[in-house]
Amino acid sequence: MKLMKKTGSGSPGLGIFIILLSIAAGTYFWMDSVSPAQKEKITRLEGLSDRLRSETVPVKFMILSREPKEASSGACIKARLKLYDLSGKELASLEKSWPGTELFVDMLLMPVASDKDAKKADSWLALPYRVFTDELPASAGTLLFDSYDSAGFPEVLRGADWNAREKESIKEAYLKARKAAGSGLPATDSLKGSFGSAAHEVSSLSKFEEGVVYKVVCRVKGGVEIMED
């Protein structure tokens, strides 16, 4: 009876305090354990967001002059193109005239897996393919593959930390594309999953201005975009 009385008269405040303290301590340690996981998730998402926006600029060009269409001759565009590697080092320069009014800069996009754990190709490597116009068919355009050859490796992809296996794969794909294009076949025919993207001006909408440098921006997701440099 005495014992029961003693137990019943225990301070409820102390019990509540201990419960609250336990909850607070539990919350504190739970937060402590989830914080690293949360930070890791933020880092991963930031990395993914940056990767999605990552880009390369293998080609820049400038329209030097335009000859309007006349009775005796057709319209003509004169432009200068420069090719760059991944670090932005200039590799080659090309100055030429093409018949037509709209310039097309064609890129070959090859699918690759971003890392060895990726189950399928999720990124694209871009190689400058050819230049043609609205009046010059693509098959008669100026091929660019030979302009950046360095012992079989496409120099426009120099500057990244490729391992030996990746280098070999790139060389092999580049060789196939060159061979196909050199024999008059579409380069996209030689590489499974690849496609071409010919970015160009649209006369009625946004014409490239003479003397302005434009860059061909290739996105890791495969899109090609032309922007003022």
Partner: protein, 303 residues
């Protein structure tokens, strides 16, 4: 209420920071020790001065030994008082430890909430950047005498169950080009989900037929809106269907003129993009509008 709680937490954190500084850092401990030493010296000085005055008034001698004795007695008294105050000091220490704990815990909760907000923002950004819209599906029906026979399908998102509008094309060549006007908006607009990049396929040509002699595509509805940008009423959020249709028509008209596109200020790039691949009989591929910019081709089997 929230403001009061915030003010209260500010005071708790200030006290907690001060306590943590004074009791856990070498500089804080040095400051605390110096303050205690100064207080003790001031007290001793006061006691010795008082005793000296009292001795002078009584005409007694108050030498160094007497002063040292008075100081010693006072210090012993201080020690006894400090020992008597130990329970109170222990209680104070306990309160300070709890304050620091509460302050740290609320900080961690705040960091966690801010982290969750950041995760939500980044997730939305990544989702918006990863989004893509199918613009055209191309099926190569036949390759005959150096000519490509293909069927192009344009999808109407307003009525996904409806059969896509199709157009058959026949063109000389080995490679099929699908040309589109592409309007890429500023990244901040895309990442925040306020805009989606647009592409209007308008022509088909080939490696042997130049673009100027290509085949025009019929993909606009009666309002001049491409089929793939039409949306069902229940698929629109925060905008009335009529307003969406009107805005879309306006936007489509806008991007057809360079001046209005520039005026909009949010257009990053406006150009033509002819995506292409070698034609193989029986193969099919999709043309997608990427939200990171530009168009891409994916094989149907990939999705």
């Amino acid at each position: 209420m929230a403001d009061r709680l915030s003010d209260f937490m500010t005071i708790i954190r200030a006290v907690s920071d001060a306590a943590a500084f004074l009791f856990t850092t070498p500089v804080g401990l040095a400051v605390l020790g110096a303050l205690l030493l100064l207080a003790a010296l001031a007290k001793l000085w006061s006691v010795i001065s008082g005793r000296r005055l009292a001795a002078k008034a009584a005409g007694e001698d108050f030498g160094t030994l007497a002063a040292a004795g008075a100081a010693f007695r006072e210090m012993a008294g201080m020690g006894v008082k400090a020992a008597g105050a130990l329970p109170a000091l222990a209680a104070l220490a306990a309160v300070l430890v709890i304050l620091v704990g509460v302050s740290d815990a609320t900080r961690k909760v705040d960091e966690f909430v801010a982290g969750q907000k950041r995760v939500a923002e980044l997730t939305a950004t990544v989702r918006n950047l990863e989004r893509r819209y199918k613009a055209v599906e191309a099926r190569i029906d036949d390759l005959r005498d150096g000519r490509i026979l293909a069927t192009l399908s344009f999808f109407d998102y307003k009525d996904p169950k409806a059969a896509p509008r199709t157009q058959s094309v026949e063109i000389a060549g080995k490679e099929l080009f699908i040309d589109a006007i592409v309007c890429n908006f500023d990244y901040s607009e895309i990442a925040a989900g306020r805009k989606v990049n647009l592409a209007i396929p308008f022509k088909v040509f080939s490696d042997e037929v130049p673009e100027s002699r290509g085949i025009s595509l019929a993909i606009l509805d009666e309002s001049g809106v491409p089929y793939m940008y039409r949306r069902p009423a229940e698929g629109l959020y925060g905008i009335a269907p009529d307003a969406y249709a009107a805005r879309l028509s306006e936007l489509m008209a806008d991007i057809r003129t360079e001046e209005s596109a520039r005026k909009a200020g949010i257009v990053r790039s406006l150009y033509g993009d002819a995506v292409h691949r070698a034609a193989r009989k029986g193969e099919a591929f999709d043309v997608w509008v990427e939200q990171t910019g530009g168009l891409s081709i994916k094989e149907l089997e990939s999705f």
